[in-house]
Assembly symmetry: none
Homo-oligomer: 209 residues x 4
Amino acid sequence: MAVAKSRRAERGSEPVRTDGSVDRRAQLLASAAELFAAQGYAKTTVRDIGDRTGILAGSIYHHFSSKEAMLDEILREFLSGLHERFSAIEEREADPRRALSELIRTSFAAIHDTPHAVAVYQNESGNLAHRERFGYVADYSSRIEQLWIRVLTAGQASGVFRRDIDVKLAYLLIRDAVWSTVRWYRPGGQFPSETVADQYLELLYGGLL
Amino acid sequence: MAVAKSRRAERGSEPVRTDGSVDRRAQLLASAAELFAAQGYAKTTVRDIGDRTGILAGSIYHHFSSKEAMLDEILREFLSGLHERFSAIEEREADPRRALSELIRTSFAAIHDTPHAVAVYQNESGNLAHRERFGYVADYSSRIEQLWIRVLTAGQASGVFRRDIDVKLAYLLIRDAVWSTVRWYRPGGQFPSETVADQYLELLYGGLL
Amino acid sequence: MAVAKSRRAERGSEPVRTDGSVDRRAQLLASAAELFAAQGYAKTTVRDIGDRTGILAGSIYHHFSSKEAMLDEILREFLSGLHERFSAIEEREADPRRALSELIRTSFAAIHDTPHAVAVYQNESGNLAHRERFGYVADYSSRIEQLWIRVLTAGQASGVFRRDIDVKLAYLLIRDAVWSTVRWYRPGGQFPSETVADQYLELLYGGLL
Amino acid sequence: MAVAKSRRAERGSEPVRTDGSVDRRAQLLASAAELFAAQGYAKTTVRDIGDRTGILAGSIYHHFSSKEAMLDEILREFLSGLHERFSAIEEREADPRRALSELIRTSFAAIHDTPHAVAVYQNESGNLAHRERFGYVADYSSRIEQLWIRVLTAGQASGVFRRDIDVKLAYLLIRDAVWSTVRWYRPGGQFPSETVADQYLELLYGGLL
DNA sequence: GATGAATGAGCCTTCATTCAT
DNA sequence: CATGAATGAAGGCTCATTCAT
């Protein structure tokens, strides 16, 4: 649900409610995500967000209690949705290689669908670790890491993945390579999302040599 | 020269001049790099930098004309040094595989030696693209990319690297995987710098399967 | 219009809008003009202006983009109004002597009505010449000078004014003598505005002997 | 003595002492006067003065106890010298008309010889009235005014000056017209100092008609 | 005397947030 | 719900002044 809303917002189609009125809340969240992603959370002013949404800065506080609350909602929505989808894959796919491929393809899909949220997560999560309010960010990250590592470990156990590679390092390499694409990937750009996914999988599985 | 200074500063050994007096300029640069890396440039205040260096905020302006000038010097020093070392590798190593390995190992060494500068570059360069003053950042990045791509292309031409992988995508994957380690790598941590380099090279060359 | 607003503000009667609310913008402009006139622009702090108006310094930026913008508006309003009135006199009065008398009386009236703006112009215009933003100040000054000189020249041509006096020097003497009165003239003081005007005209026309 | 020093400084000839060394004190005073005149006291920084004199800002404090002390000395020297010369005229010239002419010519000479000091006095004296330290400024001004007014009154009594003009207003007109020329008079410019004096005297005595 | 680094106070401006209308 | 004016806390930077060398 939350994911669907986020997708709609990020992809730019006007968030319109069943009664025809514009959904200001979603609009604001979309503007905020875009600006946080482009300029960073600290450098984005509440006024920037208001301007882009077409209301005054003060009016934002009718929808969100603070600028931080917007960041919170963007991250929470993104992480819960991502975790949900990853969990579904783990449950569904018994084969480690197919599971890993699915995890990676789902990650690329998330980058394609909600690039702003992904960028915000990439750029801001590091500075949020010590903030009580954002404890869930580290929690989700940790749970997702454990999930991926279970898949990789299962693959090593079944002999489909190499055993001379440290599973944690393999996870970090894959994670960073995949999610970093948000910095340069542009929908409609040189490389379609699926092509990037295919090539990355090819390289990760087969190696460069 | 600049590189040596930067290393000294980043590794924490007191920057002392020949006359025994403390080199405040280098101290300030080190403090700034550390804080910029940890909290982001925007969130770091000039007072933070002064506090960590043990002087008042206003005194910083005896050594640097602005907060931005400090960011500028950190990035310029880092990028010029990195580009210099990469260029030396390209000239020295005729064999593409050995050249690529050297580029990667040198990158890991840079992360180990000047983690703050690397982190600052990773986190801030994106928002600096359109700033006239920081045009050199994009310039260096572009020149480094072209250098790496020449090596990768040479490797494909000589048959040592796979030809079914887009060379640009391969570059991006490697670059992002390598440089992202700055986010989690800690000297003296679980994985020594060389181990990370070895494992990453193994995985990149041979693949996961 | 602008003149009317300025007058009201300068003479101290509370600027009140039709809806009964106080016009903070006009209040601020009046406070600023008063302080700029009394202490100089450079020495006047934004906080001074806020204090005198009864708001915090930061709130000023709701109404003006900068301290300089306030100076700008004070000068622009004053000069445009003055030029307008001078131009009307030139068009209306064909007789050079009557025209000159009118110009002088109007100047004294301006000093009486908007003493702060006059003082600010007297004290600050010299340092503003080279500032792009304040180019209009020199423009207006020049146009006004040319206007006065046309009147004086016409008076010499028609034989009503002496021909052995350089017209430019006559202009400067009159201008400086008249406008300098802003430094000592006080409404309700020893000399009413009209008395000063009469005596000055008498002296200028007839001489001291 | 002080006057001689001031003149030398203002006219630009290197202040050199009998032992051949440069007189830094006089240099500093000259630089300060020039800058105070050009930019105003408040806007002139101690560093500006040091730069123009060729020493560091901090070194100024070996010669003057504060920036204010420089202003003080400039004004004190100027006013004492001026008062001295005016007093000499009053004592020497029994004829009111010749005395007034002398006062005026001496004023123009002061503007020619020490334009910076004159400008500083013109621009800053207004803001100094309430400062204990600068009480002498108002004292001198007052004594000079009384001196001029004695001359004017004597002229009226003897019938050489008109009696229908208020003597105070006449003084103010003459004073302001004369001293204001410092704002536009430039040595070597269109009008030589003596020409300005002659024309002003002509106009003041004979009138414009 | 001069230097250059440092101080400390203060300045202009920004900005998240509040609140009466 | 939105507006717009106001708040209050910083933030980057300037500058007169001090002082050890």
